[in-house]
Every structure is written in C-alpha cells, then in structure tokens.
Symmetry: C2
Subunit: 287 residues, 2 copies
Amino acid sequence: MNDNARGPGEPAMKAAATAWFEELRDRICAAFEVLEDELAGAFKDRPAGRFSRQTWRRDGGGGGTMAVMKGRVFEKVGVNVSEVWGVFDETFRAEIPGAAGDGRFWASGISLVAHMRSPLVPAVHMNTRHIATGDKAWFGGGADLNPPYPDESDTTDFHAAFKAACDAHACADYDRFKAWADDYFFIKHRGMARGVGGIFYDFVAAGDDAFSFTRDVGETFVKVYPDLVRRHMDEPWDEDQRAHQLAYRGRYAEFNLVYDRGTRFGLMTGGNPEAVLMSLPPVATWP
Amino acid sequence: MNDNARGPGEPAMKAAATAWFEELRDRICAAFEVLEDELAGAFKDRPAGRFSRQTWRRDGGGGGTMAVMKGRVFEKVGVNVSEVWGVFDETFRAEIPGAAGDGRFWASGISLVAHMRSPLVPAVHMNTRHIATGDKAWFGGGADLNPPYPDESDTTDFHAAFKAACDAHACADYDRFKAWADDYFFIKHRGMARGVGGIFYDFVAAGDDAFSFTRDVGETFVKVYPDLVRRHMDEPWDEDQRAHQLAYRGRYAEFNLVYDRGTRFGLMTGGNPEAVLMSLPPVATWP
C-alpha cells in the first residue's frame, strides 16, 4: 500500500470512499427528514425532527461528524461519518488483518442506527467502511433490520433489495453475506438473533468492484428502508407494544456493547465515545 | 487441590463458602424487605416489595438461585447465589490463573446489584466468590457505591466500613483494594469512574483468613448499605433528577457489558443469562 500523512492505503480510493460516505449521509438525512414531515399518526402534533451535526477531532489523527435527529418518527437516529488514522494498540493488533507488522491503520466509514418511536416500525442498522493497514486494504459493512414485531413482507423486501445489490457485483456473494449476518448479528449468550438479519461483509479486497458494491449497499439502504418506515409509521400502537419494544432494545444494547465489531473498533482506537455509542437506544429496559 | 465430583478445590472450604453465601443472601433479603416496609416517602402507597426466588440448573454442572425484588424502594434488586463447575472454554482459559492446564474449575459466589427508585438513593453492587481451578484456589469480591448524586458523608461512611473490614485481616490491604476498585470500576472509553468506588479484591489465596475476610465483606455490606438507603429514601425528588439517574444507569450498563469480570465470567461459562444480566438496570437511557 502507498503511504501518506493520513496513514496507509491508496490515496485516490481513500478520498473517493470518504467523499461517498459523506454524500450518502446527506442523502439519508434528507430522506429521513421527509419521513418526519409526512407523519400522520401518533406524535403528529410534535414538530418534525431535523438533524443537527457535530464534528469531533480524534487525538492521534482524524475525526468525524455525528448527525443526530431526535424526531417524532425517529426517536433517536445517529448517522456518523468518520475518517481516522493512527497506530493500533498492541493488544488490538492481533485481531486485525495486516496489522501485526507496524500496526498503522486508516479507516473511513459511515455508520447509522435508527431507533423508532413506534414499536411497529423496525429499527435498523447500516454501516459501510474502507480500512487500510500496512499491507492490506478492504471494504466491509452491512445492514440489518431490527423489528420488535417482525413483518413478513418487510423482511422479504429488505432481504430481496440486498440480494439484488449483491447479485450485481462479482465481489459479493449474497448467500455468504446473508449467512454472515445471521451469524454475526446473533446474541450468543441468549442464543437468539438480534433481529431478522440482512447482510454482513468484511475484508473484501479494495478495488473498483468492492467500492462500487459498497456504494450499492448504501443506495439500496436509502431506497428500501424509508419505504418500510412509511408502511407502518401511522399505524396505532399501545403501551404493551411499547414495553415490548423497550425490552427488545435492551437486547440490542447487549449486542452492541458485548459483540459489535464497530463498537469495539471505536472504543479500542480511542474514537469519540459519544459517536461510537450513538447506536445505543434512547431508552431501554431490562424488566 | 483435591478433586471430587464437583470439580477441583478443597471440599470442606467449598461447602462452608457456599453455605455462607446462602446465609448472607437470606440476611440481605430480610434487611432489604425491612426497608420496603419502612418507606414513608414517594411510592409509599404501593405495596412493600418482597423477594421471589427462582432456581436454575447449568448444563455442565451446578446452578443457582436468583432472588429478585421489584419494590417501592428497590426498583430492581437481584441477589444471585450460584455454585458451578466444569471445564473452561479453550479461549477463556488464558485469562484465568491455574486454568491453562486441564481447564477444570469450580466457582461459588453471591452477587448483588440494587437499582433504586429514588435518584437520591445510591445504587450498589456487592459480590464475593470462591473459585478453584486445577492448581489454585482463591477468594475474590468487592463492593462499590453508585450514587447518581454523590453525598460526601455516604461516601465517607461506605469507605470507612470497608476499611475496618480490611484492617481486621492480614490477607487484606485496604489501600490496595480501594485502589483496585478505583482502577476496576472505571469506564475506560469515557474516561470516568462508574461510581464513588469501594473495594475490589481477587486471587486472595484460599485459607481461613481469606474466607473470614470474605465473610466480613458481606457483614459490612449488610450493616452499612441499609443505613445509606434509610438516610435518603424518604427525601423528595423531581423528574430532572430521575432523568439524570436514568442516564447514569446507561453508563452503568455500559460498564457491566463491556468490562465487568463477573458478567464476562458468567457469559463465557454458559451461566444463565437472566441471572448473569440481573445486574442491568430496569430502565436506562442514552439521551
């Protein structure tokens, strides 16, 4: 890999990936604000939410921007973009391909988690990233749907959309990436899936197809998820359903704090904890 | 160490330790139910809480009893006693003294976390345990106070009580155990303490003094903590203070899921997840 002031990796691809993650963030924020405007169900008398942004710098190299909205459809949604570089902690190196040598890394990505007011609207996670170490560079990411009350056609449509994205790229194997999500988004200590799955991929060697596939994952997300929100956001719900949603969120928090690779990456590389933990639910219960 | 059907360790001490953990549990439950009866502040019109118990068996050896109370002073308090034995998972062995060889272990302990309704009453954690592996046996434990609003005399009295317990035993070094608590009960990714500390000890070689000290830690807890609850439980509080308490609990949940040794031990040895995660707050926020 080439080297430059911002750590290892190929500069043109790094710049293009970072620019894409920022563009995708802008498009997602705009699409979500439209949903806030469209609400006709519970909470419609509250003002429509709007994203606010906050930038942060990382000691040791880089930083990012947190975009957060606390709205009437989206109880709490965070969309983080960050570009960071530096040297991995000694103990963390062993976990990362190509980092055993000099430990230098560069990483850029977008990470999104949405927790919804209505228990009938699925929560969602989407993340894509480009990472380079001393002798490897790759793309990774994924998206998974987390409905407190799974809806069969939502699940079908979500999976079909990501299948289409995978099928268009030689570097992507839908069956493998879907199985990887089922395996990854699993709360081992409870022996249960965190949601209804999606796709997960990592260590896809950097190159034009890997980047193009990563862009398609983002495009797919911004197309399919708002439709699922629209299907359910005006449906009435009751306090029992809300209580179920809050306990479901407790298990989501368990997953993120115990197992999530991105959370662990962020906490172990000195990321901004507010940004890293933006994924945690606004309210959760362990009743 | 001797060996028997229940795994490594010295049978008489193991039996005595387990009997003590159960006796301590009974005394704590009784003392906490008295507090439920005494309440004269907010929620006094609700019925006084009572513990209910549930036993569980562990695949691979042993089991435990969860005692849980959801009351009007104690929003959620869990007191678990368990005695488990088996063989450590290959990947977990390296973390445990004396387990690198055959990986067999036996462990018995009491573990308590109390989350209080009033934001002015400190939450608390107390845990003591006796563990034996193929060639080592030891006692460990600790207690720490977690007040959303720290009160100087509460903190002073809590620390003084555990200092007295340590000072009475040759195996216990208060300064070291207090510093260990400050180091252990620290939320690294946030760079902040989880509470106001207490004591933490581990790997204190099994023997009469180590067991006697461990009993004193329990005796100290059951003497000092109810007094702190009594000081504050009838004081009025408002919604802003409650909101602060719920966010404080969010950080407590982060600590337990990311760093807590007992939680990790439980999840990695196939403990009952409901018992292991009993420490999580009934409601927490990440606002």
